[in-house]
């Protein structure tokens, strides 16, 4: 067991932190207030190699192993204070690019992965529907067989990057009588007749990533755009969730490290009753708790990366990682605000934005309660 980073991994960290601080944090308070998606930053991230980090070079990526990729993404979150941007990047990488890489045909990989890695495309993942959230497989979107393909009808909601999507990975029933075993996955391109998207929805946090709906109305999708075998949609979705839940918080772990350093600096500088507030145990204990949460989160994240790097199942570890990391980010964000006092409540400080950004994490990609159900079910309960 090796707990250290190699020189090459450390170089990725140093480079991405410097890049993110230099390029990705301009006018963030205004971007958050106005819910502006930083398209130019998206492209800069692609040029740096973020989207293509774990994708083989044959499809426009860097071909990094999973631990190096995770270290890179953690460094991105440490340097980049725009949690919406990092969430959008991670969402596309784990719920669109990874399934394309794993289940796509050679033609699909060449056609879509290269554009996604280059930052020329935005990929959305459509599973949730107005009437199906936690009970994901009760989805209503249908795909009827027609000559040479399928006709899709339905609606997907709460989809990250939906308003700007170049392609969407969408799940639909091809055999409704078979329930979850009759679901298939499809790649839908923007501009396909019958495929439309909603404007961005206003939301509490992660305001710089556009979130919206996908609408499918008699939308013909050729058979070559089905991802994986017919009826394998639920298994493809499960696999995608294993990766997404393992890693979607990688950058948020970096944000927690940044948040901790900022809070320590403030606790050392801010004086009350004639001494730095960090000297008071009620303050220092909270900071100690933040540190423990950060290191716990890192262990869960790296374990999942090691397992998936070694082609081992990680559904249990993915659920635990998602549960621990998302809850830790909320708790530590709240502690950071308490420790910054009234200053932390103001938008300019940035600490309050982090709390708003953190709350979504206990909901998306399966709520904390769903993660507990998964863990319990896998334990045979």
């Amino acid at each position: 067991m090796e707990f250290g980073w190699t020189d090459e991994q450390q170089r990725w960290w140093d480079d991405v932190v410097a890049f993110a601080r230099r390029e990705l944090n301009d006018a963030l308070v205004a971007r958050d207030r106005d819910a502006t998606f930083p398209v130019e930053n998206w492209k800069q991230c692609a040029d740096f190699g973020i989207q293509g980090s774990f994708i083989p070079e044959a499809y426009g990526g860097r071909g990094l192993d999973m631990l190096t990729t995770i270290h890179l993404l953690e460094g991105l979150g440490y340097g980049c204070e725009d949690n919406g941007l990092t969430l959008a990047l991670n969402g596309q990488m784990w719920s669109v690019q990874e399934p394309l890489l794993r289940f796509g045909t050679e033609a699909q990989k060449q056609k879509y992965l290269t554009g996604l890695c280059a930052g020329d495309m935005f990929g959305a993942h459509g599973m949730t529907e107005p009437e199906s959230g936690s009970d994901a497989y009760s989805l209503q979107t249908q795909a009827e067989r027609r000559d040479g393909g399928y006709v899709l009808n339905g609606q997907k909601t709460l989809v990250g990057l939906a308003p700007v999507a170049s392609i969407a990975l969408v799940f639909a029933k091809t055999n409704p009588a078979a329930g979850r075993w009759g679901i298939s996955a499809f790649i839908i391109e923007a501009g396909t007749p019958g495929f439309t998207v909603s404007p961005p929805k206003d939301k509490m946090g992660l305001r710089t990533v556009p979130l919206g709906d996908l609408f499918l109305e008699d939308c013909f999708i050729p058979e070559e755009n089905r991802l994986g075998p017919e009826g394998a949609g639920a298994s493809i979705f499960n696999s995608a969730m294993e990766w997404e839940r393992s890693f979607i918080f990688a950058s948020h772990v970096g944000a927690m490290a940044r948040q901790l350093e900022k809070t320590i600096a403030y606790a050392c500088q801010r004086e009350q009753y004639g001494q730095p507030i960090g000297k008071f145990q009620s303050v220092s204990n909270r900071i100690a708790n933040m540190k423990v949460r950060l290191e716990t989160a890192r262990h869960f994240l790296y374990k999942a990366a090691w397992l998936l790097d070694n082609d081992q199942p990680a559904m249990m570890e993915a659920a635990m990682a998602k549960l621990v990391l998302s809850e830790a980010f909320v708790e530590s964000s709240l502690d950071a605000i308490r420790l910054h006092g009234g200053k932390g409540y103001l938008a300019d400080c940035g600490v309050e934005r982090e709390l708003r950004d953190a709350v979504g994490g206990v909901i998306y990609s399966g709520t904390s309660d769903i993660q507990r159900n998964l863990i319990a079910g896998l334990l045979g309960l």
Binding site: R102, F103, Y137, A178, G179, R180, W181, G182, G228, P229, G231, A232, A234, S235, I236, N238, S239, D311, P313, M315, L374, G377, L378, G380
Partner: protein, 81 residues
């Protein structure tokens, strides 16, 4: 028959813990009738991978291969062959 018996023993004794009785036949439906749920399918995959020293790709976890003990055994034997 060894593969079928091994799968049946795991399903009856570990997954179901006697929940549906011990009378699951080799060609009884496991999925559509709800005998095993989706997480139990995951546990079945993990068990089969370890026991039969194979890797079951997610895209193969379909009703075609997992509908019954018979279909799963046939699938696993085809991978071993």
């Amino acid at each position: 028959m060894e593969t079928r018996e091994t799968l049946k023993h795991f399903i009856v004794n570990d997954l179901l813990s006697g929940r549906n009785g011990a009378d699951i036949g080799y060609d009884d439906d496991l999925l559509l009738s709800g005998v095993i749920n989706s997480l139990e399918v995951v546990r079945l995959v993990t068990f089969a991978e370890k026991k039969f020293k194979t890797r079951i790709p997610p895209e193969d976890v379909t009703i075609e291969h997992f509908a019954t003990i018979d279909t799963l055994a046939t699938y696993l034997e085809s991978r071993a062959g």
